[in-house]
């Protein structure tokens, strides 16, 4: 009897968080989806069914912004993985535990500092009179300061990548830490070159972490608003900035439609993740690495 009672405890422990998520996350999400089909009134909307908001999304150039944001997010994922994977590899396979944990703390620091503050500093660094242009002109690489360093795709990409690297380092580090060293030794003993062992053993076994990182980075980049505004300039549009401006003109059905399309994009990615990898792998990686 007592053990049966105990078996209920984990479910009961889920209850507060489950209720909270249900009331404050799932219900608003469902409402957002429904509002996308409601007709717009002057300052609000009324219950009904119309595809006007979705038609407006597709026909007014916002679909181009959506596609551009998709490409920007994919570019951010690729560059962040290329930049962060070697760091995670170094921390997991080259440093002992204490040193690795100390360095990992450095990657926690950006998390505790506001995105706006972090991005704000890039605005100075990439500016026409900033230190990067100063060095480029100083060493003679360019004659004039480069204008495209700031308020451009390049600047937004830099901002998104630097904000995303910690999201790559942690999951990839976790997946690399859990690789059984005997597998790598076996590969080496069988005569595989280091590059071959990396390509055929290390990289495939770290893919769950890579894919988890891809999801985190994509979600961050896709929904980002502050970074495109600060580093892209006034006319720079992403799905996040479009959503903000649509809310500014009180077009709630269109805002709901844009949000629903964004959420659907994330769900497709999550579905892909669960199809390709077991969703529990990330949790298992975390517990194994401790």
């Amino acid at each position: 009897m007592r053990s049966r009672y105990r078996s209920w405890i984990p479910s009961l422990q889920l209850l507060p968080a489950g209720l909270f998520l249900g009331v404050f996350f799932l219900i608003p999400l469902a409402l957002t989806f429904a509002w996308g089909f409601w007709p717009r009134t002057e300052f609000w909307m009324r219950p009904g069914f119309t595809l006007e908001a979705y038609r407006s999304f597709v026909t007014t150039g916002r679909i181009d912004v959506y596609v551009k944001t998709l490409w920007l997010s994919i570019a951010t994922v690729v560059v962040s993985l290329l930049a962060g994977y070697p760091v995670a590899y170094y921390l997991a396979r080259r440093l002992d535990g204490d040193k690795a944990f100390s360095l990992l703390f450095v990657f926690v620091l950006p998390f505790i500092i506001s995105t706006i503050v972090r991005t704000f500093s890039w605005r100075f660094l990439l500016g026409r009179s900033g230190p990067i242009n100063g060095v480029l002109v100083g060493v003679g690489l360019v004659e004039q300061p480069l204008d495209w360093l700031l308020f451009s795709d390049f600047a937004v990409l830099i901002g998104l990548v630097t904000a995303s690297i910690p999201f790559v380092v942690f999951p990839v580090w976790l997946s690399l830490r859990t690789i059984d060293a005997s597998l790598l030794e076996a590969s080496a003993d069988l005569g595989a070159a280091p590059a071959t062992t990396f390509r055929r053993v290390t990289l495939p076994l770290s893919l769950p972490g890579v894919f988890a990182a891809s999801i985190f980075v994509f979600v961050t980049a896709f929904g980002s608003t502050a970074i495109p505004i600060l580093l892209g300039g006034g006319g720079y549009s992403t799905i996040g900035t479009t959503l903000t401006s649509v809310l500014g003109v009180l077009n709630y059905p269109l805002a709901a439609a844009i949000s629903s399309v964004s959420i659907a994009t994330m769900l497709v990615l999550l579905g892909l993740w669960t199809y390709l990898f077991d969703l529990e792998q990330l949790v298992t990686m975390g517990s194994d690495a401790q």
């Binding site: 078996s7 405890i9 422990q13 100075f124 630097t162 690297i165 517990s287």
Partner: protein, 106 residues
């Protein structure tokens, strides 16, 4: 070649240097803000004569101080609500991973 396909020789140091470079890219922009905040001019340059004038301006501006206090309140409130909600679930997960029942012996 090392056991496990790790790369010895110059490569580890290259990886170390690369990691340092990435850490610098993450932290230097933040560090750059500190001297800028000590610049008495409006221009984004490293100051020749550092001053705390901007800090005095911030602290004497009622709206900015109120915004700061509001942010701190929101941060504390979020922690107070979120942590107790998530903690029972995380404890439950740890127990089930270890194969123990709550409150029971391992």
């Amino acid at each position: 070649m090392s056991a496990g396909g790790t790369l010895r020789g110059w490569r580890p140091s290259a990886l170390g240097a690369y990691t340092t470079l990435i850490i610098a890219a993450l932290l230097l922009p933040l560090a750059y803000l500190i001297p800028l905040s000590l610049n008495p001019e409006g221009a984004p340059r490293i100051p020749r004569e550092p001053t705390l004038a901007w800090y005095r301006t911030v602290l004497s501006n009622g709206d900015l101080v109120a915004a700061l206090v509001q942010s701190v309140k929101l941060g504390v409130l979020t922690s107070v609500v979120a942590t107790p909600l998530a903690r029972p679930r995380s404890r439950s997960s740890r127990r089930s991973e270890r194969g123990t029942s709550p409150g029971g012996a391992p």
